[in-house]
Amino acid sequence: MQKTVTGNKESTPAVDLAKCRAILSKYNSATSADLIPILQQMQDAYGYLPQNALEEITVWTRIPLSKIYGVITFYSQFSLEPRGKHTIKVCTGTACHIKGAPDIKKKITEVLRINEGETTKDYKFTYEPVACLGTCFLAPVMMIDDRYYGKLTVEKTETILKSY
């Protein structure tokens, strides 16, 4: 499992830590078992895991930053970079694969001019293929934020992307 660096890195500013502290205050005697839930809440709050928030987690939980990075880079859910306003999740499950997901992926790369795992320069879209959305009856399918788009064709995909 690898994290792709998108080149948008220079623009990861320090964030306001109020939300971070509110989350951490729920964990008075945090153990390592609380790390993943804390990171999940941080990512929900900020959309990604900002550097200064991670430093705050270290201070609060006494879990070394190196360990925290180890966990973050292992799980595909976590992102160290700001993400786009919309997340496109393209299902690459078996049913979608045999019904044309590779073409859909190609089209998205073409239209947005970014690769898998990357964010557009204007921070509008983050594009990530997922192993399976479990909605095989919609194959090939993608999700943009919480909305499903099923039975896709390349033409349909382009129209959908342009509607955002």
Partner: protein
């Protein structure tokens, strides 16, 4: 809600619910889980508005349910007591359904299921349903998973109450052992034996974990059970906890399943408020607490030691066994891990008895199995059949066959750890052993049907890409083996393969299989080996000719 203080209270509570139940009401069951993707929530809302507008609240009730199985017709609904089944329902159909079907008893033809040009309005006549045997999924689609009362009305928690008040933990384990229940996560280890190991293990604290990290692409059985009948899993866990002597349990759910997490949270809260989870359950000295742990997107966490590492807050990497989790698992304590579907089988075994359960299935595989049927098949959806049902019955009788004028080519079973079962094995009665003999595995239950346009080398490459990406990198055979196999497969599909590649692939496959640390690497080569076994000609053709890219352009990806 007042807490239930003893097993009698549960019976009384159930009776009081029964007396309030109105059999004269028309109940419309709308799937609002999987079907949500195609607008089921809007349909529900439209029904509620229309019922209010026409003041029909004392005649018609809308029940939000879990998956009803026939996902291909989503959004679906069933109207009881008539037994009418409608699919592809939109909000604009709602007033007509109320005025014509419910108030006048007429069938709306365009919403009916169609088979061989015939419209079938009643659920009992639809082959997709009539050929299944629903034991685990019996409530899925017919109760509101967000309401514990409906589960209790459907005999819920009676099995747990029976075990707690009338059976010793040893008797529970014996009953499960005698039933022949085997792990539904894929490996098929006898559940009762697993419980016995943990029961006998030394330790004051024991943990019970439900593995809901359903990661196989093309599998959605566990998602459906957690979304559609979460209490059956909780009850199975309660029985397991009582049997092994555990007071603390975890349900590990995949991050991509928000509805499952939402329904589980509600179910746990409701069970707590009724006193079915917590301290001194039903007045006994048995206490059990349950917590949800969300995965963070790592396929390898479906492996039990990796899953344990993940709950402990570490990188989800597996470790060598022994020691097995049964002796040293979560935080070094004896730990029992079963899959969602396994736990969901437990209540019915305790309630109806192991002898009854044993009567279903084959010699070595008892009970039923849920399959997620998808791919090039007409009735994509969720099916439950007795062990020993043939592939032909699943794909053609229940699944309705292959759409268009294409032919059946293979069924991929067991996801990235499994293999392809070709047409010559269509009449194979499916159980753990037979599937293994033909080179696939039962796996968790993903069943992807492929028609004759699928390139099997491409399928092998697809699964290898998945395994290579998900390999945690801890052991060399898996980390390097999957990478090299992917390189070779990619080369072949691009038309740059050589004659030696097939031998090299086989050799790499054997090494990766034998030497990898965990199930991911040990099974990663299965799709390669099974496709070489049955479709060697396709490999040779690609090596001799031009590569899969050109084949694919004429093939499946070109279809709308």
């Amino acid at each position: 809600m007042e807490k239930l203080k003893n097993p009698d209270d549960l019976q009384k509570f159930r009776k009081s619910l029964e007396s309030k139940h109105r059999p004269d009401m028309v109940r419309i069951f709308v799937c609002t889980t999987g079907c949500r993707a195609l607008g089921a929530e809007e349909v529900c809302k439209a029904f509620k508005t229309e019922i209010e507008r026409q003041s029909l609240a004392d005649k018609i009730e809308i029940v939000d349910t879990g998956c009803q199985g026939l996902c291909a017709r989503a959004p679906v609904l069933t109207i009881e007591p008539m037994g009418v089944f409608y699919g592809r329902v939109t909000e604009t159909d709602v007033p007509e359904i109320i005025s014509r079907t419910i108030l006048q008893g007429e069938i709306i033809e365009r919403l009916c299921y169609v088979e061989a040009g015939k419209r079938i309005p009643y659920i009992r006549d639809i082959p997709f349903y009539s050929k299944q045997k629903k034991i685990v999924l019996k409530n899925c689609g017919s109760i509101d998973p967000k309401n514990i009362n409906e589960y209790i009305l459907a005999d819920g928690y009676l099995a747990f109450s029976k075990a707690l008040s009338g059976m010793t933990p040893e008797q529970v384990i014996d009953e499960i052992k005698n039933s022949g229940l085997r792990g539904r996560g894929g490996a098929g280890f006898p559940t009762g034996n697993k419980w016995e190991f943990v029961k006998k293990a030394q330790g004051d604290i024991k943990y019970l974990i439900c593995n809901g990290d359903e990661g196989d692409p093309g599998a959605f059985m566990d998602r459906a059970v957690l979304e559609g009948d979460p209490h059956s899993v909780i009850e199975g866990m309660l029985i397991g906890a009582y049997a092994i002597g555990s007071q603390k349990g975890f349900i590990y759910v995949r991050a991509e399943y928000p509805i499952a997490v939402e329904h589980l949270k509600i179910a746990i809260e409701q069970a707590k408020s009724l006193g079915l989870l917590g301290n001194n359950i039903l007045g006994s000295d048995f206490s059990f607490d349950l917590e949800i742990k969300m995965g963070a997107g790592a396929f390898v966490c479906g492996e039990e030691t990796a899953l344990i590492a993940s709950i402990e807050g570490k990188r989800g990497m597996p470790r060598p066994r022994p020691p097995f989790p049964a002796t040293s698992g979560l935080w070094g304590k004896p730990t029992n891990i079963n899959n969602v579907e396994t736990f969901a089988n437990v209540p019915v075994i305790i309630l109806k008895g192991s002898e009854w359960y044993k009567s279903i299935g084959t010699a070595c595989s008892k009970g039923t199995k849920i399959f997620a049927l998808a791919g090039n098949v007409k009735n994509t959806g969720l099916v439950e059949v007795p062990m020993g049902t043939t592939l032909r019955e699943i794909v053609f009788d229940i699944g309705g066959g292959i759409p268009g004028r294409k032919k059946f080519k293979a069924a991929q079973m067991g996801g990235p750890s499994g293999g392809c079962v070709p047409a010559q094995h269509l009449d194979l009665p499916i159980d753990y052993e037979t599937v293994k003999e033909v080179g696939a595995i039962m796996g968790s239950g993903g069943l992807i049907v492929m028609d004759d346009s699928a390139s099997m080398v491409d399928i092998a490459r697809y699964f290898m890409e998945f395994c290579q990406d998900e390999s945690c990198g801890k052991c060399v055979p898996c980390r390097i083996g999957t990478k090299r196999m992917l390189d070779i497969l990619t080369r072949i599909t691009k038309g740059q393969g050589t004659k030696e590649d097939i031998g090299l692939l086989k050799e790499l496959a054997e090494v990766t299989k034998t030497a990898s640390l965990c199930g991911l690497g040990q099974t990663a080569a299965n799709p390669v080996l099974s496709t070489i076994r049955y479709y060697l000609n396709e490999y040779e053709e690609l090596i001799d000719k031009k590569g899969v890219q050109t084949l694919l352009q004429q093939g499946p990806t070109a279809q709308p």
